[in-house]
């Protein structure tokens, strides 16, 4: 700016040339901003590593489960395990939406958005949408790996698997709002990741994810049977195995919707505070 004599404002259009924009455009632009992060594949690779390791370990470690008397006959353990991995991985990934928002809060991007004529709900919606896209990519890669490496091929066929994938995405999306709300109020990456771990791991093991609930010891079975994750996993499993029981499916969808709505209210109130 040393030599220029031009003016920093009003160089072209008059002051009121841009009259703001619709929420749809806001969400599209903001989601596009986040999608740039995917051009750097390192994060995606990192987030796939953990479920891939889990898949490898559990498909070997728990293989004997398939021989236990409680386990359905003629069912490959990988076909039993994979729908659960979709749900647990999808749920864990919800944390990333919160991590993204916490980063925006820290680096000041949110401070800028608060002073713009946009709806802060667009900022949150864009985060949750981006997280869903990322989650979809991650789960698709996992599915391909499970099919090619571990012989995943459930009775529900491609349609059943896609339905299970869609369900996992909706569940992850609903939970993403919980983490968005947490990020908006806690605003601390480490604390949030801790909460994510502490909440998810016990829920994951005290569920029907890896073994049938009847084969769990008494007290654990009680927890597993009231654990919402069990219902989500049963729903996903039913879809993939081509034997869907619709009440857990609808239950999971409705619960996700309610969780998203409550999370959205809190996230919206929290994110507006400077």
């Amino acid at each position: 700016m040393t030599t220029t004599t031009e003016r920093p404002t009003r160089t072209d259009a008059p002051a009121d040339a841009w009259g703001g924009t619709s929420m749809v455009t806001q969400i599209t632009v903001l989601t596009g901003r986040s999608l740039r992060a995917l051009r750097d594949p390192r994060m995606l690779i990192m987030s796939i590593l953990q479920p891939l390791i889990m898949l490898t370990l559990f498909s070997q470690v728990f293989r004997s489960v398939a021989e236990s008397p409680n386990f359905p006959k003629d069912l490959d353990y990988i076909d039993y395990l994979m729908p659960a991995i979709l749900v647990t991985t999808g749920s864990q990934a919800a944390m990333w939406a919160g991590v993204g928002l916490a980063n925006d809060l820290k680096n000041g991007a949110l401070a800028r958005f608060r002073t713009l004529p946009i709806n802060m709900m667009s900022v949150l919606a864009a985060r949750s949408l981006f997280d869903m896209v990322r989650n979809g990519l991650q789960l698709s890669i996992l599915l391909i790996a499970a099919t090619l490496l571990f012989g995943f091929g459930p009775a529900g066929g491609v349609l059943g698997v896609l339905a299970a994938l869609a369900l996992a995405l909706v569940i992850g999306w609903g939970l993403a709002w919980v983490f968005l709300a947490l990020a908006a109020w806690v605003r601390n990456l480490e604390v949030m990741q801790m909460i994510g771990m502490v909440a998810m791991f016990p829920l994951m093991f005290a569920s029907s994810a890896f073994v049938t609930t009847d084969s769990l010891p008494g007290w654990l079975r009680v927890i597993a049977e009231i654990n919402p994750l069990t219902y989500a996993i049963d729903a996903s499993r039913g879809l993939a195995l081509g034997d869907p029981s619709w009440s857990p499916v609808f239950g999971a969808l409705i619960t996700s919707g309610v969780i998203a709505a409550v999370g959205a209210v809190f996230a919206f109130r929290g994110v507006r505070k400077p």
Binding site: M1, E6, T9, T11, G20, V29, N107, R272, P274
Partner: protein
């Protein structure tokens, strides 16, 4: 009467027990710079947050660019540009991407956004670094990008919260020049600062905040006249008689600060013409002067005096 672009009346904001803003009123006419002066914790950022619709006030009312903050916050946000105390650039994006993103959110088409981004990158001397990630920028570059982002939508009112804190002297001066050009164009600026020099140089009027209250308001000259003291410092040559000089000054009704005769004398004066009285008083006793300086009160003096009385009260 000129159009008021910022008008705040009896604004109050509390955080729990802390009264961050207590009955703050201010008026900023179009095309002028209001300097908001105060030390850390005075309430500057809180006032900027209230005026930019980020925080709701407890009571009082305010309007910016003719729009009421509570009834038309979206209109307010459409007419302002804000550069916060802490950089608000997305470090994962390049400078250009940062600008395009915000332009799009303001309603520009992709083409308009790209064009405006290029213009501003050029104006703010960031063209060379335009396609580098903002995380590689220096502090001064981030500030400039931040400011450029605030100006994307041709705002009528620009808020700058401590825009030069932490900048090196060169970056500071170049930022001042940007502000001056903005004002030449008719933009109204509210700028907070801890530096008297900055307020003195840029602000048409100054509001001094302390512990959330306005303790003084006026032009720099008015503040100096109200609180500051103009002094004349003279140094007598070795041959002169300091005792006679002191005596002569007192006879003329002046009240030198020195209790005892000394070669260096400091004499508070009222009007500028009183300097002549000092010279005549010395001349009367044939005291020869080797050095004479008139010290105008600085904003620092004003600020110190004000905050001292405030603390004592």
């Amino acid at each position: 009467m000129t159009e008021l672009m910022i008008e705040a009346e009896h604004v109050r904001k509390v955080f729990g027990d802390v009264v961050a803003l207590d009955d703050v009123s201010l008026r900023v006419p179009k095309g002028t710079v209001m300097g908001l002066l105060g030390h850390n914790g005075a309430g500057k950022t809180t006032l900027v947050n209230v005026l930019t619709t980020v925080l709701p006030a407890e009571s009082g009312r305010a309007s910016v660019a003719g729009n009421d903050l509570t009834t038309a916050p979206d209109k307010v946000r459409s007419s302002i540009g804000v550069t916060g105390q802490f950089a608000s650039v997305d470090e994962l994006l390049t400078g250009r991407q940062n600008l395009i993103l915000v332009a799009r959110l303001l309603g520009a088409s992709p083409g308009q956004a790209r064009e405006r981004a290029s213009d501003l990158l050029e104006l703010f001397d960031l063209a060379d670094a335009a396609d580098r990630k903002a995380s590689t920028y220096s502090g001064g570059m981030k500030r400039r990008l931040d400011l450029a982002t605030s100006l994307l939508g041709h705002p009528e009112v620009v808020f700058l919260d401590e825009p030069t804190t932490g900048l090196d002297p060169t970056s500071r001066v170049s930022l001042w020049e940007i502000v001056e050009r903005l004002v030449d164009d008719g933009t109204t600026v509210l700028l907070t600062t801890q530096y008297m020099e900055e307020a003195d140089r840029l602000a048409d009027s100054i509001t001094v905040l302390s512990n959330g209250s306005v303790v003084a308001a006026g032009t720099a000259a008015e503040l100096k006249a109200d609180v500051g003291q103009r002094t004349v410092a003279v140094t007598l040559t070795g041959e002169s008689d300091p005792a006679a000089a002191l005596e002569s000054l007192r006879r003329k009704g002046l009240r030198p600060m020195n209790e005892k005769p000394q070669r260096a004398l400091t004499i508070p004066v009222g009007a500028a013409s009183d300097v002549a009285v000092v010279v005549r008083a010395l001349d009367d006793v044939d005291a020869e002067v080797s050095e004479l300086n008139v010290h105008e009160p600085t904003l620092d003096d004003v600020y110190l005096a004000l905050t001292r009385t405030k603390t004592a009260a």
